[in-house]
Symmetry: C2
Subunit: 329 residues, 2 copies
DNA sequence: CTGTTAGCGCTTTCAA
DNA sequence: TTGAAAGCGCTAACAG
C-alpha cells in the first residue's frame, strides 16, 4: 500500500500539492468546492500529515516537553493530566522526561530540548543542588514555565502553591486542636518549597508563643527514618507538621514503634496529594495541592508564551486545601 | 546567534556536510583525525541534531507513544517510569496519550500514531466497550505492545500479570485466615483482567467448598458505592477480595458505615499498587503488581519489534506479590 | 483561485 | 577518505 501523503492526494485529485496543502489548512484562497473534495479524500484515505515534515518546515514541533523528577507520585500524575488536557485541546503532544532527581540528566534534557525538540518546556526542577545550569540555558528562546518546585534564583514564569500560607494555617489547625508541642519535619533543598513551608510553621508557632521543634530531614529514606525516629523520641511532640508525604509515612511508622497513637497522642498534618491514602487513613489531615489545576495553569501560560501572547502574571499561586478527616478511633 | 546545524559545522570546519554527518555517526569511512575535530566542535557549540530532519529522512522518529487510560494512578505511574528508563537508554522519547477511558480518543490516537508519529506504541486499552477498532488498525506496520489491560480478542505481544494465580492465592490467603464467607468485588469489562481475577476467586472458593458471593461493579463511583454498600449489608462477608483498589476504598467506607471493623470483622485483600496507601493502612493486604518491571518489559519487547529482532514469547506474564501487613489493632 | 518551486536539516548514494 | 547532490513531506513565496 502506497503511503498517503500530500503528493499522493494531489495525484489522485489531479491537483497540485500546494492546492491540497492549502485546502487542508482551510486557506481562504481555495474554493469551497476544492476544499470539500480534498477533505473528503483525505478523510477517506485517513491521511495524517507527517509531523516531522511540517515541523521541519514550520519550525514547530507541536510538542511540549515536561521535565519532572518522577512520575510515580500523585502530585505529578495529576499535574500531567492537567497539562495533557490543555495540550490535547491545542493538538499538541506531551513528551515526558524524568530526571529522577538527577541534575546531570536534567541538564542533558534541557540542552537537548533547547534545540528545537519541543516548542516549550514545563519543568519542576530536581532541586537538591545548585541550579546555575538553568540560568546559563535561559538565554535560550524556547519558552519555559516552572511549576511546583520553582528555582528561587531565576526569573521565569511559574506556577506554585501557597506554601507559606497553607503551612501557617495547617500549624494553626494543630494549635486549635490543642497541640502544645508541635514538631516540623521538612526537607530543605535548593528549591523554595521547603524553606517557605518551614517559615509558615515557624511564624505560626511563634505567633502563638509555642516552642519550635524542627528537623531538617535528609533525602534518603534510610537516613530520614532514623532521624525522624530520634526526633520523635526526644521531642515527644503532640502535633506534627510534615512538609512532604513520605515524611508523614515514616513518622507514622515511628509512632507505631514508639507506641504513640495517631491522632490521639500525636496529631499529624502533612502535605499530601494522595487522595486514596488520605481516604484510607482517616487519621491523617492533609494539605492537598490542586495538582490538576496547577498543571493546566502551567500549560496555559506556556501556550501563551509559545504563541507570543502576553503573560500577565509571571508568578501564579494556587491555593491548597486543608482536608481534615474525622477520626474513627 | 546563528543556528548550529550540520551546515554551520561544515562551514566552520571547511568540510562538506556529508563528512560532518558521517563523522557524527562515527562512520568507518572517516579518518580518526577528522572525526575528532568534528566531535570537538560539535561538543563545543553544543550541537543537537534536529530530530524532525533526521526523522523525516530516516523514517524514524525516535519516539514511542504510550497510550493509557490515565496517569493519576500508581500502577501507570510506575509503569511509565519503567518504560521511560529503557527508552532513555536507547535515546528514545516517550510521548503520552491519555484516553481517559474514552474509546473515541483511543481510536483517534491510534489513527494518528499509525502514520509515522511514533516508531512504536505501548498501550493499555480503555476497556469498557468492544474494541474492534484495534483489529482494524492492526494491519498497520507500527509495532504495538499491550500491557496490563490486554484486549482478549487480539493477537499481539503483551505483558500482564498472573491475575488468575494471584487472585487464587489471595483468596486462599483469606481462607487460611479463617474466613468462611468470602465476597468478591470485581469490575468486568471487555478486557481480560476482571474475568481472570474473578475466575481465580471462583476456583479458590470452590476448591475449599465455600459459598460464592460475587458482585460485578459498575465503573461509576456513585453507582458502585451503592452496590457495594448493599452487597456488604446483605452478604455480611468475613472476607473480601477486590479486583481493583478503588473498590477496596469504597468497601472500607461502607464498612465504617456499617460498623464493621477491618480486619477483625472483615479481612480485605485487594489488588493495589499504592505502596503509600498500603503503608498508611496496615489493615489492607494487597496484591501488588510489579508495575515498573512490567513497563520495562513492555518497552523492551517494543524495541525488539522496532529493530526487527525476534520476539520469543508473545505473552509475558509477570508475577505479582501478596503483601500482608501485620495488623496493629 | 491554482500551480511551480525552493528549501527546512539531515542522511546516503554516487562519484571522485 | 571526502564531496556533491538528491530527496524525505511539507509550506509558502512567487507567479500566473
Amino acid at each position: 500500500m502506497e503511503r498517503v501523503n500530500i503528493k499522493y492526494l494531489a495525484k489522485e485529485l489531479k491537483m497540485s500539492v500546494s492546492t491540497v496543502s492549502r485546502a487542508l489548512h482551510d486557506s481562504y484562497e481555495i474554493s469551497e468546492k476544492t476544499k470539500k473534495k480534498v477533505l473528503e479524500l483525505a478523510r477517506k484515505l485517513d491521511y495524517q500529515p507527517d509531523p516531522n515534515a511540517s515541523g521541519l518546515r514550520e519550525k514547530r514541533t507541536y510538542r511540549i516537553a515536561l521535565v519532572i523528577p518522577e512520575v510515580a507520585n500523585n502530585f505529578f500524575s495529576l499535574a500531567i493530566d492537567g497539562i495533557e488536557s490543555v495540550a490535547a485541546d491545542r493538538k499538541y503532544h506531551v513528551q515526558i522526561y524524568l530526571t529522577h532527581e538527577n541534575q546531570e540528566k536534567e541538564i542533558a534534557f534541557v540542552k537537548q530540548l533547547s534545540n528545537g525538540r519541543a516548542d516549550g518546556i514545563i519543568m519542576s526542577v530536581a532541586g537538591d543542588q545548585a541550579n546555575t545550569h538553568l540560568t546559563d540555558l535561559m538565554g535560550n528562546k524556547t519558552p519555559l514555565v516552572f511549576f511546583d518546585r520553582v528555582p528561587s534564583n531565576i526569573d521565569q514564569p511559574s506556577v506554585s502553591t501557597d506554601d507559606y500560607e497553607s503551612t501557617f494555617k495547617a500549624t494553626e489547625h494543630l494549635i486549635e486542636k490543642g497541640c502544645k508541642r508541635i514538631g516540623c519535619l521538612v526537607v530543605l533543598d535548593n528549591v523554595s518549597i521547603g524553606i517557605k513551608r518551614r517559615q509558615g510553621y515557624l511564624d505560626a508557632v511563634e505567633k502563638h508563643g509555642l516552642e519550635v521543634f524542627t528537623l531538617d530531614c535528609s533525602n534518603d529514606i534510610q537516613e530520614y527514618s532514623k532521624e525522624i525516629h530520634a526526633f520523635l523520641k526526644n521531642v515527644k511532640p503532640d502535633g506534627l507538621f510534615t512538609s512532604v508525604e513520605k515524611l508523614a509515612v515514616s513518622a507514622y511508622y515511628s509512632c507505631l514503634d514508639l507506641g504513640l497513637k495517631i491522632p490521639s497522642d500525636v496529631k499529624v498534618v502533612s502535605f499530601s496529594n494522595l487522595p486514596t491514602a488520605a481516604l484510607l487513613n482517616p487519621s491523617l489531615t492533609t494539605v492537598t495541592q490542586p495538582a490538576f489545576e496547577i498543571g493546566k495553569e502551567a500549560a496555559t501560560i506556556l501556550f501563551n508564551l509559545i504563541n507570543d501572547k502576553p503573560v500577565h502574571e509571571k508568578t501564579i499561586v494556587i491555593k491548597s486545601e486543608l482536608i481534615e478527616r474525622q477520626s474513627t478511633q
